[in-house]
Structures are given as C-alpha cells and as structure tokens.
Amino acid sequence: MFESILFYTLAAFILGFGVLVVTARNTVHCVVFLVANFLCVAMIYVMLGAEFLAIIQVLVYAGGIVVLYLFVVMLVNLKRGPDAAPDRRRQSRVGFVLAAVMLAEISAILVYSAARPASAVAAAAATPLQTVGNTEVVGMLLYTDYLIPFEVASMLLLVAMIGAILLAKKEI
C-alpha cells in the first residue's frame, strides 16, 4: 500500500519533470528539471532494492553528464529558442510515426504480460532477494557473464576520449 503510493507519486514527479524539461523556455531551467527527473528515477531504483544502481544513476547522470550539459548550455547561452524547423509538416509526420511505434510497443508489452501465465509472474516476484548486497552481485556479473559487453563499452569510452583529445588539440 505504502509502496504503491510512493511509486505513483514518484512516477507522477518523473513524468511532470519530463514534461517540464521539454516545455521550459529557459534552457538552464530545462537542465535543472532534468536533474530532478534523474533523482526521482534514482529513488525508484532504491524502491526496487537496487541501491547500487541508484547511486550510480545519481553519480554518473545527475552528477556527471548533466553538469557538462549545464556547462555547454551556459556557455552557448541560448537566449531565444531555436528557429522553427523549415518543414513543419515533415516534423509532424515523423512525430506521428514515432508516436505510433511507441503505442505499438506499449500495447505489445500489455498483451504479452496479460498472456503470460500468472504463475510465472508470481515466480519471478518470489525470487529471493540477494542477501550480500547488490554491489557485489553487479560486480560479479559484470566480470563473468557480461565480460565482453563490459569490455566493448569501456573500449567505446576510450575511443571517445581519444577522439575528444584529437579534436581539441591542434598539434599532437
């Protein structure tokens, strides 16, 4: 009971902040709402018992990436919004297609979960929560089952870093 009240409150906040991110006039305000949005998402993770993920969400997204966004936004200083797109009708067509895809996805999920036997859902929910704390479990999984994706991701980041250095430095 208490959990569902908390969940729906948080969900409302997340959606509300999400709407504010795209509608706020001032770009800096948008970034602040984005931070609030990420913090609320982190709280949802805490509710799910994934405190490691929650902390990483705050550390990486709210504390790292969005700070850089804020830097860029402040330095570029978008006093007036970007000009309206030259082709309004093409934009709305793309938007329509995206909305249709989204709707199809959501209904597919709904149909799938309805078709899934209730016993499977109950079994998934009844899986005992790990007792060692999920930092250890996440670390274990990352370095055993998901080693290749993990290494590929770190390679990608390394390439991005070297690329940034190349772009920023005229002579090497």
Binding site: V28, H29, E51, I56, V58, A62, G63, M74, T135
Partner: protein, 339 residues
Amino acid sequence: MIDNFVIPLVKILVVLNATLVGVTYMVLLERKVIAWAQSRLGPMRVGPYGILQPVADALKLMIKEDITPVRADKWVFTVAPILSMVPALIVYAVIPFGPIVQMFGHPVSLYITDINVGLLYIVSVASVGVYGIILAGYASNSKYPLLASLRASAQLISYEVAVTLTLVSVILMSGSLSMVSIVRAQESSGMWYAFVQPLAFGIFFIGSLAETNRAPFDMPEAEQELTGGFHTEYSGMRFALFFLAEYANMIVVSAVATTLFLGGWLRPFPNVHVLSFLGFVPGWIWFLLKTFVFIYVFIWIRATLPRYRYDQLMRLGWKVLIPLGIANLVVTAILKVLL
C-alpha cells in the same frame, strides 16, 4: 516503534543541530586561529574572548536585507543556495560517529544509517553539490560570479577524479563500501589505513582542500580577482546558506578522512595492547578529536600558504594527482592479489 522511528529521528535531530552549531563555531575558530597566527586577538567583544560571536553573526545575517538583483534569474537564484546546503547536510546520514552502544537499555548505533554503498553515496551526493555553485553563478547574471562558478565547478570536477581514485584503493583494502565495515576492517587489520595507504591519504587530503574551495586552492573566491566569488550577489540568509554549506562540507571531508584513513572511532594504535587504557575514552570522542585535528590543519594551512594560480591548480590536479592516484590504485590491486 521506538527503534524504527523515535531513535532515528532523535539521531537526525542531534546530528543536524550539532552540525549547524559546529559550523558556526568553526567560523569563530577559524577567525581566532588565523588571528593568533598573525599575532592579533581576533573577535573579543561579544562575550568573554568572543565566544558569543557566532550568535551575533547569525542574528546579523538573519535580519539583514535579502536582495535579489533585478536582472537575476529569480527562480534559480532562490534554488541555488538550497541546492548547495542540502547535499552538504544529507551526507551526515552515513558517517559513523561511533559503534553501537547501550543507551537507556536500548542498543543505539552512533550513526544514522549504514547502507552498503555508503562511500559511493558520499561521492554521489558531493557531485550533486556542484549544482548549487554553478547555478548561483549563472543566476546572478553578473560577470564575476559567473567566472567564479565556472572556476569552482572545473576545479571540483577535476579534483573529484583524483579523490575518487584514492577512495577506490581504500575500498580494495577493506573490501566493502560501507563506512562502518571500513572502520571494522581497520580494526581487524590493526592498522589505520593512513599507514597502509600514505599516498592515497596525501592525495585525498590535497583533493579535499580543493574540493572544499579552501586555501591554497580558494580560486573560486579569490577576492582580489573576483570580488567575492560565486556568491557576490547574495546577501542575508541566502549568503549564510552558502557559507554554512561550505563549512559543513569541510566537516564532512574531515569526518570522511577520519573514517577512511584514521580508523574512525578506534583509539590510536588499535593493535598495541599497552595502550588499551585509551579504550576508556568513548569512541565518538576519538572520532570528534580526529575530525577536529583535520579541521585545525585546514585552518592552519589557510593561515600559512599563499594561493595557487589557476593553471598551477589544474596542472597539479590533472598531471600530478590523477596519475599518482592511478599508480597507487594499480600497485594496491597487484599487492592485494599477491599477498
């Protein structure tokens, strides 16, 4: 009921009040110590030897006019001090002031909570604290605060990397992210980590000076260049919030350094049995004493060292501290596997 609600609430109340009172008295301590370092007397008028000065300061800040500049972004201007105050206070939730003790027949833990990602929680909350500074500089709509806030955030982000690297080597030593377990690990190994990880301790200390914007790294509030830093346009209580946040952060980094490197609530030399008479002093007093030593050294450094130049600061961070931190981490990891 009493264990789940009353005791935690009382603990939160005690910690928050102690922090705020501690912060105001830290300002007095700083003024006194710097005055003595410069052969002056410091505040002497309010109360005997000026010990009531914090009360007078607080009263003055509360009744001062609170000005919002006309061209400021009002909404962000109001939110910014709150955004820097709240992270500075919620960090205290995971700091272990002492072990579990018996109090009026109830087992009471001398920390508000012990989550198993405690150290990461501190790092992430500190990284959110940057917003207060950036947004204050932006919202003031004035060039000096903007410059100062850009400096401050660049400095914070750079030194955060070095500090976090030292934390990783501490985590490798203790095998846990929980603050209480880190102290327990130092107890069972019989050594403060300052002796096992001297390099990490040094980097952490320098990095924490930079992260709290203290001299010799107080670039963001270099009076001679920037008139006053990111809070130039703030006045009254909102200015006081920034001030409180800064000093609360100083206490936090001192407490974290105590927990990670100086054995938290453990007595000095926990493995020497001759000194076991020191165990009569309760753990939380040891903790506060060690924290106080750090705070005192912070003030002492401010009275002694001149300010760095900005490029020196950045060079020190990126070219000295971060490579040293990485080297220390690699060596620690190798030794940990071998031994």
